[in-house]
């Protein structure tokens, strides 16, 4: 009977966590789809290769070896220990205990031992990361945008991982003790190279105490994991899932390339066709109510890929720490661009949900209310942020798209930039030199040689 209640409780918890997770994924999906369309499904072979290398293989993480290698430990621990979670799920649902052991034999012992070493590795890495974040003077963890929730979010995740790993090891330690005492239900299974160090801590417990500790740690571990599952998509930590699609949908063009706007090409083609009275191309069957604005003022003007990037960002700050503008005290922080984009698309998504699926506007926009012109004009378009991102996010893409909105929608530019535009338009050069003088250097060269 007690078993049955346990199994039912487990089922309800699992179902609830699954439901909450799925509902949240639905919201994120809807929010990402607020973006404009862009084709990122061409060249699939290359895309799989990029994902395998960058996300699965963590190739860009190890550029900074200390954080990179510890991250790989946590990542490997997360993925492999999930095999153990699979067993926990089966045990939980069917009231079994270490169901995989009889099937895997000696290999099971090897697996459990590996998980224990990994759990220790994860625990140590998380403690080191907590120290780095909170005690060491690492500039990128102390930027203005890292105050409040972003800082707490990171600490919550690291602390929860420490607790989960400790619960996992405690569970194994108690299990081994129960096995040694020949307690009912505890079949001899597993090899426990790490958790054996905890035995002195628990050895004094009675048989009932050992069982309670094992069960308690088991429940803490699995409920903790389910809670984590629900928490993660509300957190920056969602990168553990989105890193994979985000790298698959990477921009495969050279980093220096900036997309040519198709809408502008149409108009320029028309102007260059030479016939000023040429009728515009046959109007489409259904003319859209409003032409799409040029550039990005708000999140709906960004592409779905850019919005996916905002949800994929885990705020590591490598972009910001490699940004020349940020390094020289300018207001721009590429990480903040991504965080602002996520905050804004969340806000818009919530408003749409509240209004029953309609966007009625809220008098705010990403450009202006979240991101200032000063930030945008500080960018040198050097692509250091793009290069630094471990999962191929491009903060620069958003910055340049917002400049397009400033110029082409609002005609707002620093005076010197307007002067540059005028020079290019009138003289074909960013300075006020006549085109006729372009060849002057050739005459000088002839005279000098």
């Amino acid at each position: 009977m007690a078993h049955l209640i346990g199994q039912l409780t487990f089922l309800v918890l699992l179902g609830t966590a699954g439901f909450l997770f799925a509902r949240r994924i639905g919201q994120i999906r809807r929010n990402i789809n607020l973006g404009r369309d862009v084709n990122r499904s061409d060249r699939p072979k290359e895309r799989w290769a990029v994902m395998a290398k960058v996300a699965l293989g963590q190739s860009k993480m190890v550029v900074r070896p200390v954080a990179g290698i510890m991250h790989i430990v946590i990542y490997a621990g997360f993925i492999l220990i999930n095999i153990e979670v699979l067993e926990i799920l089966v045990d939980g649902l069917f009231g079994t205990h270490r169901i995989f052991a009889p099937f895997l034999g000696g290999f099971y012992n090897f697996l459990i031992a590996t998980f224990e070493w990994l759990a220790l590795g994860v625990l140590v890495a998380c403690v080191v990361f907590l120290v780095r974040r909170n005690l060491l003077p690492i500039a990128r963890f102390r930027s203005p945008e890292m105050k409040g929730w972003p800082k707490n979010d990171a600490n919550i995740i690291l602390a929860v991982e420490v607790l989960l790993m400790f619960a996992f090891l405690t569970m194994n330690a108690a299990d081994a003790l129960a096995q040694a005492r020949g307690l009912d239900h505890y079949i001899a299974a597993g090899s426990f190279p790490v958790s054996q160090w905890l035995h002195p801590l628990y050895d004094g417990l009675s048989n009932a105490g050992i069982v309670a500790l094992e069960r308690g740690a088991w429940w803490f571990h699995i409920v903790g994991i389910l809670a984590f599952l629900v928490y993660v998509p509300y957190s920056k930590h969602f990168h553990i899932f989105l890193a994979f699609p985000n790298t698959w949908y990477s921009d495969l063009t050279p980093a220096g390339n900036m997309d040519n706007m198709a809408a502008v090409k149409k108009e320029v083609d028309l102007m260059m066709s030479g016939d000023p009275f040429a009728a515009p191309a046959a109007p489409a069957e259904e003319t859209p109510a409003e032409p799409a604005p040029f550039g990005a003022k708000d999140v709906q003007d960004l592409t779905w890929k850019q919005l996916m990037e905002a949800y994929s960002c885990t705020e590591c700050g490598r972009c910001t720490s490699s940004c020349p503008a940020n390094a020289t005290g300018k207001l721009l922080s590429p990480r903040k661009i991504m965080m602002d984009t996520r905050d804004r698309v969340e806000e818009v998504g919530k408003a749409i949900q509240a209004a029953g699926g309609q966007w009625e506007g809220d008098g705010k926009s990403l450009l202006g209310h979240y991101i200032s012109e000063e930030e945008l004009w500080a960018c040198t378009s050097c692509q250091a942020c793009v290069e630094a991102c471990p999962i191929n996010i491009s903060p620069m893409g958003i910055i340049l798209d917002m400049r397009r909105s400033l110029i082409m929608e609002d005609s707002k530019a620093p005076e010197s930039i307007t002067a540059m535009f005028n020079n290019v338009e009138n003289n074909g050069a960013p300075w006020a030199f006549p085109a006729a003088d372009r060849g002057k250097w050739t005459d000088e060269l002839s005279a000098e040689s």
């Binding site: 063009t253 050279p254 220096g256 390339n257 900036m258 040519n260 706007m261 502008v264 108009e267 320029v268 260059m272 040029f294 550039g295 490699s322 020349p324 503008a325 390094a327 020289t328 005290g329 300018k330 207001l331 004009w377 500080a378 040198t380 378009s381 050097c382 692509q383 250091a384 290069e387 340049l400 400049r403 397009r404 909105s405 110029i407 082409m408 620093p414 010197s416 930039i417 002067a419 540059m420 535009f421 290019v424 338009e425 074909g428 050069a429 960013p430 030199f433 085109a435 006729a436 003088d437 372009r438 060849g439 002057k440 250097w441 050739t442 060269l445 002839s446 005279a447 000098e448 040689s449």
Partner: protein
């Protein structure tokens, strides 16, 4: 013998086709310092007996600074005009004197109807040396001299070219050293993204001063550049550090031309 640089129009009129079009760029055409780089490139092409031409007055800004400042209309107007000229002459290969022109012509023009084989001048010079078309006697003036190369963003990160400029410099037999931030992690000079044409935003430092610190750390006597804008920024940075007396800022084309005794 006076070195004459024909325009494509001249060549066309004579019924000749150059091996490459030398796309000079705005800085290289108008800025006095950058013009010296342009002339060095021309001397190298001439010495290597590469039949080349320029567009002269028919060349116009690629539109790069306009595009990166957000003015896509102006960019595409410039592109359309340039592509009409280039396609009109049937241009196939282009060598640029500026990584911004290089990036724009190579990556952004094809979709707009202008597909060419585009090379940056450091790539082309490296090839001329490798093919034995350009002879550098024994690199006397720079032998053993400490030189560091500042990667232009739009050649390096932008297009993944880190090797060619370094291979070209290797011909100088100099003491080539890397800055702390180099190649993929190279620090910008501060001029890109149309910053060259405006004042820097409020901050506590200029980007080129920050970059100059990297140079000073290496103890290099020559900063090699591959971009006229980087050249300006680094020259200003070295001046600001009051080291213009012992540190020179020179384009790779100038260093090679000097080593090949062409200046």
């Amino acid at each position: 013998m006076a070195l004459t640089v024909p325009t494509l129009a001249d060549m066309n009129a004579r019924g000749e086709t150059p091996e490459v079009l030398f796309w000079v760029g705005c800085a290289g055409s108008f800025d006095d310092r950058a013009k010296r780089i342009t002339k060095a490139i021309a001397r190298i092409l001439h010495a290597a007996e590469v039949p080349f031409a320029v567009l002269g007055a028919e060349e116009s800004c690629t539109g790069d600074p306009a595009k990166r400042a957000g003015n896509e209309f102006l960019f595409q107007m410039q592109a359309a005009q340039n592509i009409a000229v280039l396609n009109g002459y049937g241009v196939k290969r282009i060598v640029t004197g500026c990584p911004h022109c290089f990036n724009t012509l190579k990556n952004e023009y094809p979709e707009l109807g202008g597909a060419y084989e585009v090379m940056h001048h450091t790539q082309f010079i490296q090839q001329l040396i490798a093919d034995g078309r350009l002879k550098i006697a024994d690199g006397q003036p720079f032998k053993g001299k400490r030189i560091t190369f500042h990667d232009p963003c739009y050649l390096g990160r932008g297009n993944g070219e880190y090797a060619a400029p370094r291979e070209a410099l290797a011909a100088l037999d100099a003491d080539l050293v890397e800055m702390r931030r180099c190649k993929k992690n190279g620090l910008c000079c501060g001029a890109g993204g149309a910053q060259m044409f405006k004042d820097a935003e409020k901050g506590n430092r200029e980007v080129n001063h920050e970059r100059t610190d990297d140079v000073l750390e290496t103890g290099a006597k020559v900063v090699a550049t591959g971009c006229p804008f980087c050249n300006t920024m680094m020259t200003d940075g070295i001046k600001n550090a009051e080291r213009e007396g012992d540190i020179e800022v020179k384009d790779i084309a100038e260093l090679i031309a000097e080593a090949a005794d062409l200046l």
